[in-house]
């Protein structure tokens, strides 16, 4: 602005115009920054107090022998807790169960979520009703739904057990895991579907029509047009769901309490704290779970190029 001002006019005004707006801008910027600081400080403080500090504390606890039943024996023991956890078959079994449940429930809910998104997107008739119905599994308290599933699969009590020859799937390892996956998929598919619906509505209808005119089949249109355009939305939904599923706790706690080798890593950590009262081992498990989650996030964000939601604030 000041550079375009002809120097001929006066000596006073340009100097004035040059200096003052600049200083004013920095004043405004400074005020903005101060305001932003005070606006964000409370939220940041609460978030750090509840997550950052305990995380550091968990690292410290994980390096100690620390059992609530033997408080006098608390001492620093280095990585012995980690060694104990990592050499225990319980940890690897729980990790395997968690990975299996995560992979299957996320994969199935992705496919079903895609179908749900298509239904919600294409249907004209009774759209609100379908959306309302599909929001109920999303909103329902996981524990409440889990009791329903548990009773449904209890022999001589549940309609699903009765439909399957009065079987008792929750008492057998593989079948119990299948029931847990069903409960997870039922609960999480609507969320997946809604995230995918938002991505689906960004796919231009013209492209679909053009491909249809060119003779592309429905499947071709889906794989060649819809999927590539939806890739960012799919990856974000997958990232959310994978991390969420890896933390699975409520469904397992109610359905099997982790019996018959169905405990996830979260169940293992909980048991170590509240049944074994072992803070040291429990914290080591907690830190290991945190590391697993971090690895999953890094794989998604760096490996698959998932746009971390919110990281692209400048895009809009």
């Amino acid at each position: 602005m000041s550079t375009t001002t002809p120097p001929v006019t006066t000596t006073e005004t340009p100097a004035h115009a040059k200096k003052k707006p600049k200083r004013q801008l920095t004043e405004i910027q400074k005020a903005d920054r101060r305001l932003a600081f005070w606006l964000c400080a409370p939220a940041v403080l609460v978030m750090i107090a509840v997550t950052g500090y305990p995380l550091v504390y968990a690292v410290i606890l994980s390096l100690q022998k620390n059992n609530l039943e033997l408080p006098s024996e608390t001492k620093f023991i280095g990585f012995a807790n980690y060694a104990a956890v990592l050499s225990s078959s319980y940890w690897w079994e729980a990790l395997w169960v968690t990975v299996v449940i995560t992979v299957f429930s996320v994969a199935i809910s992705l496919v079903l979520g895609m179908l749900l998104a298509e239904v919600l997107h294409r249907t004209v008739f009774f759209r609100g009703g379908v959306r309302t119905a599909s929001l109920i599994p999303y909103g329902i308290v996981t524990v409440a739904a889990a009791y329903g599933w548990q009773y449904a699969w209890t022999p001589s009590q549940g309609y699903l057990s009765a439909a399957f020859n009065n079987s008792a799937p929750l008492t057998s390892h593989v079948q119990a895991i299948i029931v847990i996956i069903i409960a997870e998929v039922w609960k999480t598919t609507p969320f997946m579907g809604l995230l995918l619906l938002a991505g689906l509505s960004l796919v231009p209808e013209d492209l679909q029509k053009a491909a249809m005119v060119d003779g592309a089949t429905g499947w071709q249109r889906f794989t060649r047009i819809t999927l590539p355009l939806m890739k960012p939305a799919i990856l974000v939904a997958l990232l959310f769901r994978t991390l969420d599923s890896f933390r699975i706790f409520d469904n397992i706690f109610i359905l099997t309490s982790g019996n018959n080798g169905t405990g996830s890593v979260s169940i293992l950590g909980y048991d170590n704290l509240f049944n074994a009262l072992n803070l040291g081992i429990g914290s080591a498990i907690a830190i290991l779970i945190f590391i697993c989650v971090a690895i999953i996030a890094v794989i998604f964000i760096l490996g698959f190029g998932t746009a971390a939601p919110g990281s692209s604030t400048g895009r809009r």
Partner: protein
Amino acid sequence: MAVITTRQRSGWGVANFVVIALALIPVLWLVSLSFKTPTAVLDPSFWPSQWTWGNYSGILTSSQFLRPLLNSIGIGIIATVIAVVLASMAAYAIARLDFPGKAVLVGLALLIAMFPLIALVTPLFTIERALGLFNTWFGLIIPYVAFGLPLGIYTLSAFFREIPWELEKAAKMDGATPFQAFTKVIAPLAAPGMVTTAILVFLACWNDFILAISFTSTIASRTAPAAMEYFSGGSVFTVPTGPISAAAVVITIPIIIFVLFFQRRIVAGLTSGAVKG
């Protein structure tokens, strides 16, 4: 042409029906169980042969359920209000102000949104016992606020970016005071986003189980989802299936009300943060 559209319409009609059935059958099963008599519970037929209100009158007169229900409502509302107020402040800064560290703040919120809760249960359990917060309302409110904040910040900053802020300036030019400009112009525009966020945060608090069973030990602060488990343990109920199902239905009612009245908002809120970024 007409044949295809009719067939298509009926195809989507079938699809709609399947979606609604799959979504609702597990819920209807809980409703049916909650109306079964203690003996009828042991009959696997989907609907009860005899209907009874006994399970509801049982839990709604027992402090073992009423007190936790009150805790759930109180803790949920307080945590939601605090989280929405703090998140609105931060989201306003993110949407409207230019400041260094914005990316760090958004990243921090994302990190916390993805945090494995169990990793915090052990240290927070120890800290809460040391601070005397264990088994109190605030022992749950504080972590609920912390985990509601990322959700709130995302949803609200997406909403706030959509608000035409020039209107504020226009109102001031027309002679409105800054306070009037805020209450008459900006607040009504921001309200829908805040209501949506409040619903999402409240649902998250209402749904929590792992923190609720970890940081409570009596019905003084135990929330409804955590209390259901204790129905079985030598309480006044003979067969817990009916009462637990009735309790499950009671805590599902607010969700159904939210979904019926605010379904558009909930969908908008869920997807705004994730897709628009």
